[in-house]
């Protein structure tokens, strides 16, 4: 049940809202958390009913271990909890790939494993590992099992994030029965959701029509020419941003319908002036997780420069592997790890000499580095990625440009570079638990709940409906 499907929009969401608000209306606000929990498990069950026991079992296991760590923090218990989580994730996500590699290395003929990846497992495993680590460090106060279960399963984020931190959510869930949810919350939630839906159905899905054929044809052995390779790569660069940030906007908007604020996940990443800056703007909740639960435990910056470079590289490499079992994801992670190391080396060399890259140069180099790294991220395999790279430097011929694709890419670039993002547009209503204060949009782009913006929202909704004919999945669902 996709957020952009009629089943979700016209059946699941209205029913969930009705149950949620009716109980509150009759004075049974105490049922708010159970209603959302049941709805969230039903939402997951719609996707894959056979994996509901795995989800619930994982929640029960982690909660029990977490409470054990709260009572008596111990490395052995923490290792058990994290180990079981990683084993489960490893089995479902990496066993098939690992077996393929072993088969290749040993020239073995073991029959291929057939394992269906439970949807959302990467996301709910990470949130719970963070919970266990925090419980070990004495940072867990809330002991309500229902609030914990809802923190893991809350349907707006369950399938593809944002990756939530228990502390920022369980506090809100605990307060939910007493919280007053007004029509303005609904208005902001609907607006944010509509922005996300617009990004997904109008922008991302339109760009996909120009990105996907290039990579699929490259995988089929048709090497793309210069124009096709750049068209496919740029279109995918924009598609991925509009798709994933659109999903995040929808999740944030949905949560707000129930009075809940989520952390922001994107902050105009293609405006970044360095790779480090990019990772503070792109999939911010993953970056936060990798920093707090991987980079810092590895030693972070505390053990000298050389070691910090290694830590940064390992963190990005593992971040790549988290996205999927495949050499192309490792290459993507390794590229970003290398970018960060090169960026720090340059910074360490340039800063004492008073050298600073002009902002435009930094932004251009960062954008170029990022789009080149998206090639293996999108390509079905390394051979296809290589073919697209060869196309990007013109060694497969020139080909002919597509004016329609060029116009769409230009529009996408104008939006990501020239316009404020969703959080900035809705800054007056503090739509997220923003860790970093965002500069509000200016002029008419700064949203108000007035007539002019109501008309604008109507236009957005109409556009969304008109483009939503072919419901397509979100890219990050595969991770």
């Amino acid at each position: 049940m996709l957020f952009n499907s009629p089943e979700f929009l016209f059946v699941f969401l209205p029913i969930t809202c009705a149950f949620f608000f009716v109980w509150r209306w009759v004075g049974l606000s105490v049922l708010s958390v159970p209603v959302l929990l049941v709805a969230s498990v039903a939402f997951y069950g719609w996707w894959s009913i056979e994996h509901v026991p795995l989800l619930l079992g994982s929640i029960l296991f982690n909660f029990v271990v977490g409470m054990g760590l709260v009572r008596r923090p111990g490395r052995a218990l923490l290792a058990l909890g994290v180990g079981v989580d990683l084993l489960l994730l490893g089995y479902f996500k990496y066993a098939v790939f690992t077996q393929g590699v072993v088969n290749d290395l040993l020239a073995a003929q073991w029959p291929a494993l057939s394992i269906i990846l439970p949807i959302g497992i990467s996301f709910y495993t990470f949130t719970q590992i963070a919970f266990l680590v925090d419980a070990y460090h004495g940072k867990v106060d809330d002991k309500d099992p229902l609030a914990y279960a809802l923190f893991v399963t809350f349907f707006p984020h369950l399938i593809a994030g944002p990756i939530l931190h228990h502390k920022e959510m369980t506090v809100q869930f605990a307060a939910l029965p007493r919280m007053r949810i007004g029509s303005d919350d609904l208005a902001v939630g609907v607006t944010m959701f509509a922005f996300g839906l617009f990004k997904k159905t109008v922008l991302a899905d339109s760009l996909a029509l120009h990105a996907s054929p290039v990579f699929e044809q490259a995988a089929a052995g048709h090497a793309p020419g210069l124009f096709a390779a750049w068209t496919g790569t740029l279109a995918y660069t924009l598609q991925l941003y509009f798709d994933f940030s659109g999903y995040s906007d929808m999740a944030i908007g949905l949560a707000r319908l129930f009075g809940i604020r989520m952390p922001e996940n994107f902050n105009s990443p293609y405006k970044a002036r360095s790779i480090a800056d990019f990772w503070q703007r792109w999939h911010m909740t993953l970056s936060r997780f990798l920093r707090d639960y991987l980079y810092i435990p590895l030693g972070g910056n505390r053990r000298g420069k050389a070691r910090s470079y290694v830590n940064a590289f390992i963190t990005m490499l593992l971040g790549g592997i988290w996205h999927g079992a495949g050499w192309q994801f490792m290459l993507w992670g390794a590229l970003h790890g290398a970018y960060i190391v090169v960026g720090r080396l340059f910074s360490d060399w340039a800063r004492p000499r008073g050298i600073r890259l002009p902002a435009a140069v930094g932004a251009t180099l960062t954008f170029l580095a990022v789009i080149l790294a998206w090639v293996p991220f999108r390509a079905p395999d390394l051979a296809a990625a290589g073919s697209v790279y060869v196309g990007l430097v013109g060694l497969n011929g020139i080909g002919a440009p597509s004016l329609q694709a060029a116009a769409l890419i230009a529009l996408g670039l104008a939006i990501v570079w020239g316009l404020p993002n969703s959080q900035q547009i809705l800054a007056r209503f503090r739509p997220t638990l923003a860790a970093v204060a965002v500069a509000p949009a200016r002029g008419p782009l700064l949203w108000r709940l007035g007539s002019a913006h109501a008309v604008a929202l109507a236009v957005v909704l109409v556009a969304v409906v008109l483009f939503a004919n072919d419901v397509s999945e979100f890219i990050y669902f595969q991770f």
Binding site: P6, R180, D185
Partner: protein, 333 residues
């Protein structure tokens, strides 16, 4: 009414904002639905409209047909009913639509023919050779159905069809079509480039590049919904129904045998017999504007090939239509 940690000022009304935006969106979408109905079902503006109207009018004017051909452009360019009737002694009509309508369009045309022609004995379904590799044809169903509320649809198809109806009513292409037509008329340019000629749509002047080789894994699962409806209709109406692949460029056919083995298994599983296991090969000189189209000059010759191929089914149809045994068999598991 705001949440405690909200920064929303009390002067702004969420209720009024939501009412205006949702109300206006509903009004705009309602207007678009009305425009879609007008353009798609009560005008000749869409590309498919003139051909659909032509074939429906053909059916309206007909009398005493005993054979109908239903299918897509591969049929429209391959079968000349005058030649076919002369070779077989039948009275037939070619009701070919386009690939857009798919099996669903064929199902609807058969239903219309059954209602109009009580003496109908034989139905020949001819679809493009690659039809089993194409996505579903619910759009074709919606655009050609004789009934909006269709009691003949099985429960499993009702929700997908309802979604297809919504998709057709809220299709932004309608706006494009509605705006484009008067502009083109103002410029004295044709609204469409479709011309009916030689009992079907006139072919393009140049040949389109061939599509990829067809592989067994290209067969789309779930493509059988409307073929099963066709087979069921044939059983209920005691009709002799047969499936024939449209012709295909020999160059592609030579490398696509696996596809047809897989597709044939599925087609026969519905109970529809196949006239031949593979398409009629088109030599380079016989190919029209696409890999699935016989050249206009080859239509009579192609009809003769199909007449010979269909002869056993024509003969089996017999001369006593009401007493014949249905040629469709029970579905294979």
């Amino acid at each position: 009414m705001t949440s405690p940690n909200s920064s929303i000022s009390s002067s702004e009304s969420g209720v009024r904002y939501l009412a205006v935006s949702l109300g206006l969106a509903a009004a705009l979408l309602g207007a678009l639905c009305l425009l879609s109905i007008k353009v798609k079902w009560f005008s000749d503006l869409p590309d498919y409209a003139p051909l659909l109207a032509y074939q429906l009018e053909k059916l309206d004017r007909s009398a005493g047909l005993d054979t109908v051909f239903v299918g897509d452009s591969s049929l429209g360019n391959a079968i000349d009913t005058e030649t076919f009737d002369r070779l077989t002694g039948r009275r037939s009509a070619n009701l070919a639509l386009t690939g857009l309508f798919g099996y669903a369009g064929s199902y609807n045309m058969i239903r219309r023919a059954v209602e109009k022609e009580p003496g109908l004995r034989t139905v020949v379904v001819v679809q493009a050779a690659d039809m089993m590799s194409r996505a579903d044809d619910l759009r074709g169903y919606v655009l050609s159905t004789p009934r909006v509320l269709d009691a003949d649809l099985p429960a499993a198809l009702r929700w997908p069809v309802a979604r297809a109806w919504i998709g057709e009513l809220l299709d932004w292409q309608t706006l494009k079509t509605a705006i484009r037509a008067p502009v083109l008329r103002l410029l004295s340019r044709p609204v469409r480039d479709i011309v009916i000629e030689n009992d079907y749509v006139k072919q393009a002047s140049s040949r389109a590049p061939f599509g990829p080789v067809l592989r067994a894994e290209d067969v789309v699962p779930g493509k059988l919904d409307f073929l099963q409806r066709i087979a069921e209709l044939c059983r209920v109406q005691n009709l002799t129904c047969v499936y024939a692949h449209g012709p295909l460029a020999a160059e592609l056919l030579d490398r696509s045998h696996g596809f047809f083995q897989a597709a044939d298994r599925l087609i026969e599983s519905t109970g529809l017999p196949l006239a031949a296991p593979e398409p009629v090969p088109l030599a380079d000189s016989q190919i029209g504007d696409t890999q699935n189209h016989a050249a206009p000059g080859e239509k009579a010759a192609m009809t003769a090939v199909y007449a010979a191929m269909l002869r056993p089914f024509i003969d089996a149809g017999g001369s006593k239509p009401k007493e014949q045994t249905a040629r469709t068999t029970q579905p294979k598991p």
